[in-house]
Amino acid sequence: MTVQEIGSPRRRSEDARLITGRTRWTDNMQPMGTLYVAFLRSPMAHARINAVDVSAAKARPNVVAVLTGADFADEQGSLPCAWPVTEDMKHPAHPPMAVDEVRYAGEPVACVVARDRYTAADALEDIDVDYEPLPAVTDMEEALREGADLVHEDLGTNKCYTWVYENGDLDAAMRDAPVVIERRYVQQRLIPTAMEPRAVLCVPEGDGFTVYSATQIPHILRLMLATVTGIPEHRLRVVAPDVGGGFGSKLQVYGEEVLCLLLARRLGRPVKWTESRSEGNMAVHHGRDQIQRLTLAAERDGRIRGLKVDLLADMGAYLMLVTPGVPLLGAFMFNGIYKMDAYSFTCTGVFTTKTPTDAYRGAGRPEATFAIERLMDELAAELGLDPIEVRRRNWIRHEEFPYETICGLTYDSGDYEAATDKALRLFEYDKLRAEQRDRRERRDPVQLGIGVSTYTEMCGLAPSRVLGSLSYGAGGWEHASVRVLPSGKVEVVTGSSAHGQGHETAWAQIAADRLGVPFEDVKVLHGDTAVSPKGMDTYGSRSLAVGGVALYGACDKVIEKAKKVAAHLLEADENDLEFSGGRFRVRGVPDGGRTLQEIAMAAFAAHDLPEGLEPSLDADLTFDPENFSFPHGTHLCAAEVDTETGMVRLRSYVAVDDVGKVVNPLIVEGQVHGGLAQGIAQALYEEAVYDEEGNLTTTTMADYLVPSAADLPEFVTDRTETPATSNPLGVKGVGEAGTIASTPAVVNAIVDALRPYGVRDVPMPCTPERVWRALRGEREPAGDARPGAAGGLGSAQGGDAR
């Protein structure tokens, strides 16, 4: 029996319990005596806290405690930032609960602990805070002007850092360049919208605490909670039970996690906090929010000479776990798949009185990919070339790999030609171009546009030495262990922390495939620091490319050990044994041999083991990758744009991705679909909007539009397979590819449709009104766009709905 689990499109074994919710969501857990926490949040962007009166709230029946920032001041410490990107980076203190000043709307200022969550919510309304308003700082360019209002008075500036990377002679590249394209693109602020809002449950147990949290990073969280609170690390156990998505938003050490732990310590009782969606929109870290100033110099034949990137990146009010580093993850990606002689990247981080930003699906790479892919289309238009042709003239050809890019990365493998050819065929590119010409000639009110995105990205975070060279606070390895239990069943422990990716299925497939045991015989354990002794957790499309590879290696070590036992039991030489289908046989002797299960029992009993071999059949391995992995692909989008209303309808979308070897094609497909939805959402729907006073106006899903399946076209997905050479599995990672690739594909399609009308950009999200205004040569809506004026739920916030 040969088991071909790797590559098999198995349905995910964890889905039934996740979809029905009959599982260990943090909020489902209810230890005896649990108290409930609710946070009062600042309704202002920036204000001094003169006084907080909690007496009325305290007097309410069933309220156990009401605490303010002042009450926590001595013990709450400062939330960590693990990525000091420059030596002179400004790093303000970030108390989990504001003590004397609030710097973004949504910052916690007080909390109620009550015997039930209804009382906790009611008591919040009894708290009276005396705020003295301070100026809101909402515009990054304004914030950098001399004499600007300051977010942190004591820093004396709103500039957090300036980080520079240069390679090649940019001046020479720009000098006398036949074609120079200058653009300013805005990556709007986005709110990561995980299906499961955040939730924390802290339980005092013995001489320590167990922290259950809807987090992507139980291992990192444990270390950070210990550092912030002073509770020794070995007295803390952190569990990420089933977690319903994160997209980077749960790659964080949140104030609420720290405060719940402090409350559990103070009260000696389990305390739980569960976030509401509106609360989350304000207080979950946000993503993107960059202003990109770009200059591309090229030859007349379309060949790129050089690229200059000048970024402003909104940090928000404070630096969180990797806030300053996120834009720098894009620094190495602005060249995309193209060759060029010179490159210069400058990023200035800016403080504003808004929710802090941090990693959001793609983290730095979507911004970079958007910029270069939009520029390639603009270059094509400038030169009158087909956008595919301009790309062909610049991309790294498949025979040129491995290729060291202008950004200093070594792309190990890729075949851009193959992915593009396949995508063009599936898309029926020529036919759609013909239809586009026809609609243009007919002056059809509905115009057709075609958008191209030939992307690559870096994932498999990350070689520890590279992270060290970038001043990041940790390494990028991952750990796995494999235990073949006495009965022959297998337990796999991974340091990677699943929150929707399907680890339990994919990891079981890898183990079953390597060990030759049935898929059903493998159990995957994760997300609990008491179970998984070490790990670097899940983000940056690293699970399979680092954690999966660690598991692959651990399986090999198990087989190696088992082989020694088998040789001993079969009285054969190890070199004469072969292992397949879960059985060791003497080469050339098809019958007999020993199964892995038999060897596991023998290793457990340990009655008769080879000299010096430790009992039990298990192994572990920590894998630190030598290089990143570089998925790539070609995405093509056809968009119909109604020139009378500005409405955009995506007609077809083809995604051909090369994510290397695939463990489970069904999971890959799911990742691509979800990724496309999120990337398309940035192009068309989502934007966190602040008013001039710094109030977030998109606090509900009526105002912050997240598309559903009904809003998306039927995706055509396919793959090419160029294995990664940097790991033995040949895998690259697929968690973010769809998001990274799709945003520019969609915007390119919209601009392509409208080019005959003189439109060369539409700001994101490309709402119908923005498209309509772009057609009229205007940029932004008139100033009457305020939330709450029209009907619908969102508008209810503007009026009295009683």
């Binding site: 969550r117 209804y118 919510a121 009611d122 309304e125 509401s276 969606r277 509106s278 609360e279 009378e644 209303t645 409405m647 068309l684 729907y685 909007v689 106006t697 998109t698 509900t700 009526a702 105002d703 539009l705 997240v706 598309p707 559903s708 009904a710 809003d711 709402t767 119908p768 009104e769 309509w772 205004r773 809506p781 008139a782 009457d784 766009a785 305020r786 939330p787 709450g788 004026a789 029209a790 009907g791 619908g792 739920l793 969102g794 508008s795 209810a796 916030q797 009026g799 709905a801 009683r802």
Partner: protein, 286 residues
Amino acid sequence: MIPATFDYARPGTVEEACAALAEAGEDAKVLAGGQSLMPLLRLRLAYPDALIDLDRVAALREIRDEDGALFIGAMATHHQVMRDPLVRAHAPLIAKATATVADPAVRHRGTFGGALAHADPAGDLPAVALALDATFLAVSAERGEREIAAADFFVDWMTSALEPDEILVGVRVPKLGAGWGVHYEKFHRTAQAWAIVGVACAVRRERGAVEAARVALTNMGPTPVRAAEVEDFIAGRTVSESSFREAGERAAAGTSPPGDLHGSSEYRAHLARVLTARALTAAASA
């Protein structure tokens, strides 16, 4: 989010419901499916003292034929309304517009009367009721029954003509006779989003001309608005794209469209003109 405390009653008959509402006083709210009210409660944007839940008042779910009119019970769910053979035959505009309301889950809980009494200018059904000259039947414990014309029912932003002690029991919709074509043109950014602008339209054709048209607009002011200038202009004109376009140009006249994150008032006015022309065209060819 968690609603503030409220009293709750779940009567079984209209009489019991009226009595409960009268007793609960001015700050009570009628719960009729809860698809709009519950989010307001959970966001703590509404703080009623009491909810009178009509879910158990089976009599209010009835849809019946009353000769020249249909009577649609207030508690008929959207799902029930859009599939009802009487509605589809005699008030197809209601069936079409109802099918665009939110999503299947909401349509199974939300009710026809609840959506109308909520009087949200972004709701789809108020404009439809206005276009069809529906009559609203209200009842109170103290004063008994009364009829309210659609034109008088929508008073202001989320405010209907219902008195605090009145319950909407149903809506009488005159049947559209032969020769009428209908269309509801809804413009929204995502399938589950409210209309930025909507146009409810019924057109009666005779011998290549428009004999009469009824047009009402969603989300073009604090209440649904009848586009009277459009109706006057198009009546008697030949069925043609250009006449519909010219009629559409008059759609924003007399409206006061709001501006919000999804569209400025200028853009809404523009949309009303374009969409009205489209709705007329579609209704005339339906």
